[in-house]
C-alpha cells in the first residue's frame, strides 16, 4: 500500500513539471505564429498621416524632413506613397512602393527627384539600403510595423517586459546568406507586445555579426480602433546616427483615391 501511494506521489511529482512545461509551451507561441499575428494585426485599409523625420548624427547635428504619407491596401497588395514637404531644397521628392503579398514577387518602387523632374524606377533588391539618409531601410519603410515572414526563420526565445508591457522575445535569422546580404542583417531580435502584436523594440546585427542598430516603437495608442505607433526611432550603433519618425494627424477614415498611388501622382506631388 505504502509503495502504491509512494509511486503515486512520484508519478504526480514527475507530472507536475511536464504540465508546467505544457502550459509554458502553450503561452510561448512559435516564432512563425507570432509573426503571423503581427501581420494579421489590423492596420486599416487606408491611412493618411504626416511624418516628421528627424535625423541626428554623432556630433548632434540634426536634419528634419516634414513628409506626408498615404498608404492603401488593394486586396492584399499594399501601396505606400511619401511626399516630402520641407525643407525647401528637397521639397517635392516623393517615393512610391507596391508591396506584393506573393513571396516570390519582387516589390516595385519608384523615386521622384525634383532636381531631375523624373521618376526613377528603383531596384526592389535595394531592400537593405537606407531610405533617403535615414536609419530605416527601404524594407523597413515598406513593411512599417509588419514583418517579412518568409525572409527569416523565427524562434521564440522567451518573454520579457518592455515599458511595462509583456512581450515575446523572438529571434529572426535570414533564411540564407543571399537574404542576409539583401536585408543587411545577420540576425534580428524583436520584442513583440503579447497583447496587441506590435514590435515594441528590435535589435539588429549586421551581416558580419556585429551589433548594428536598435529600433524602438513608442507612443502606441488606439486611433479609430487601430493600434497606432506615433514614434519610431532607429539608432545605428556603428555610425552613432539616429532617426526618429514622429507621426501626426493619423487618419484611417480619409478617402484616398486609387490614382494617388501612381507614377503620375509622384510627378504631380502633394
Amino acid at each position: 500500500m505504502r509503495s502504491h501511494i509512494q509511486n503515486l506521489f512520484i508519478a504526480l511529482f514527475l507530472l507536475i513539471p511536464l504540465s508546467v512545461s505544457d502550459v509554458a509551451a502553450e503561452s510561448l507561441l512559435s516564432g512563425e505564429e507570432i509573426a503571423r499575428r503581427i501581420n494579421a494585426r489590423n492596420e486599416g485599409e487606408v491611412v493618411s498621416r504626416f511624418i516628421t523625420m528627424a535625423m541626428t548624427d554623432r556630433s548632434g547635428t540634426e536634419r528634419v524632413r516634414e513628409t506626408k504619407s498615404l498608404r492603401k491596401y488593394f486586396g492584399k497588395e499594399k501601396r505606400t506613397i511619401i511626399f516630402y514637404l520641407s525643407p525647401s531644397n528637397i521639397k517635392d521628392t516623393a517615393f512610391l512602393t507596391y508591396d506584393y503579398p506573393e513571396a516570390d514577387r519582387d516589390d516595385d518602387q519608384w523615386l521622384y527627384l525634383p532636381a531631375a523632374r523624373k521618376v526613377r524606377r528603383i531596384s526592389a533588391s535595394d531592400r537593405g539600403d537606407y531610405f533617403l539618409g535615414t536609419d530605416f531601410t527601404y524594407e523597413d519603410i515598406r513593411k512599417e510595423t509588419k514583418v517579412g515572414i518568409e525572409d527569416y526563420s523565427w524562434k521564440t526565445l522567451g518573454e520579457e517586459t518592455i515599458d511595462g508591457h509583456r512581450c515575446f522575445l523572438v529571434e529572426e535569422i535570414p533564411v540564407n546568406e543571399k537574404m542576409a546580404q539583401e536585408l543587411g542583417y545577420s540576425k534580428v531580435q524583436s520584442w513583440i507586445d503579447a497583447e496587441i502584436w506590435m514590435v515594441r523594440q528590435a535589435k539588429y546585427w549586421d551581416v558580419a555579426g556585429n551589433p548594428l542598430k536598435t529600433l524602438q516603437v513608442r507612443e502606441i495608442t488606439l486611433i479609430q480602433d487601430i493600434w497606432t505607433a506615433h514614434q519610431l526611432s532607429a539608432e545605428n550603433h556603428k555610425t552613432g546616427h539616429k532617426t526618429v519618425f514622429t507621426f501626426k494627424d493619423v487618419n484611417y477614415g480619409q478617402s484616398v483615391k486609387d490614382e494617388m498611388f501612381t507614377e503620375d501622382a509622384l510627378r504631380r506631388g502633394y
Binding site: R117, K118, R120, S125, Y130, T239
Partner: protein, 454 residues
Amino acid sequence: MACSYTHCGILALAGWLIAASALAESTPDDTKSSLLSNHRFSAVLESEAAYGTATDRADKMEFVLDPQWEYRWSEDTRVTGIARLYTEGFDHLEPGRLSQGEVSPNSRRLQLGDRTDIELREFYLRTRLWGTHLTLGKQQVVWGKADGLKLLDVVNPQNFREFILDNFDDSRIPLWTLNAEWSIGGGNLQLLWIPDRTYHKLPQTGGTFAFSSPLIVPQAPPGVAVNLRPLERPNNIATDSDIGMRFSKFWHGWDLTVNYLYHYADFPVFFQSLHLTPGGATVTVNPRYVRNHLIGGAFSNAFGNLTMRGEAIYNTDQFVLTRNRRDGDGVIKSGEIAYVLGLDWSGMQDTLVSAQLFQSWLLHPAGGIVRDTLDTTTTVLLRRHFLNETLDAEVLWLQSVNQGDGLIRPKISYELRDNLKIWTGFDLFYGDRNGLFGQFDRNDRLVIGMEMGI
C-alpha cells in the same frame, strides 16, 4: 502685338473660368495639418562659381534666388508661382545685353543691366475638374527615362548658356502650357497644348560656351562673306502651337509610355544660299524653325539589382548641315530613329552604377553631311552615398563614339546642415574640337557651389 495681347487675354480669361469652376466645385480641406496652411512660401538660394583651368580665369560667379509661393485651396486645387532672380558676376556666359529672339514676348526675362535679370519661371494652376487633372500656366513637362542627354525630354526648350553642364531643371525653359491628364484604361493619358513659341536659348557669340562645332554651326568657305539674317520665328498662336500626347501605363511590372509631339524643333535650321556679286561670294544664312513629328515611347523595369530603362523615337523631319556645295540650301532633310538604353546596377549598398547607350540613325542620309549616318554616344555614372546620404561622390562620363570626344564630371557634395548643401567638382572636356564636347576642350573648369533652402 495687339493680336498677341488679344490671345493672351483670351487665354487668361479661359484660365480664370476654369479656375473659378474648380474653386467652386472644390471644398476647402479642413482636415489639413497645421503644417499646411493655405499659403506656403519657400525659397532656394544657389550660388556657383567656376574657374577655367585651361584659360586661367574665373568663368562664372552666379547667384540664383528662386522664391516659391503656393496657395492651396483644397487637396486638389493649388496655384504655384516660382520666380527667379539671377545675377552673374563676370558676364562671361551671356555677355552684354541678352538677345531673347528665341523666346516669346510673354516668357522673356526682365533685364536689370547686363548681369542681372528677373524671370517668372513657373506660374500655374493645378486642379482636378470633371475627372481631369489640369495644369494651366507656365510649367515644365518632362518626358522620358534617360539621364544626361535628351530624346523624349524635348517638350520644353533649354538654355544652353552652360552647354549641358547646368542642372536640367535650371536650364529647361518653362512654357505656357495647357496640360490635361485623364485616368483611362488603367493608365494615364496626357494631352498638351503649348501656344508658347519659345525655343532653345543658344549661347551668344563671345559667350564661354558659344557653339563652334561644324556639326551645329555652318562654316563658310574661306574668302566667302556671311550674311546672317534675323531668326525667323513662328508667329501664329493658333497654327504654330505645339501639341503633345502621352499615354503611360504600369503593365506587368513595366512602366510604359507612348509619346507623340507635333512641334517646332527647338534648334533653328540654318538654310543657306550662295550669291555671287562683283565684290565676291556671299553666303546668306536664314535661320528658321521647322516643324517635326516626334513619335516615341519609353519603358523601365527592375530585375533584381538591375533596373533597365529606355526610350526610342522617330523624328520625321530632322535637318543636318551638309558640306556639299551643290546642295541648294546647305542642309538635308531626313527622318531619324534614335534610342537610348540604360542599365542601373545597385548591387552594392549606397552605390549606383549606371550606363547608357544612345544611338541616332539618319534614314535618308546624303553625301557631304557633317555627321555620321549612325551616331553613338555612351554615358557612365558612378555614384556613392556616405554618412547617411549627407556626403555624395559621383563621376559622370559622356563619350561620343564617332568623334572620340567627351566630358568627365567628378563631383563631391556635402549636406552641411538641414538646408545647406555645398559641392565641388570638375567639368573636363576632351577630344576633337570639331566634336560636340571637344569644341569646349579649352573650357575645363573647377566648380564650387552652395544651395540653401529658406
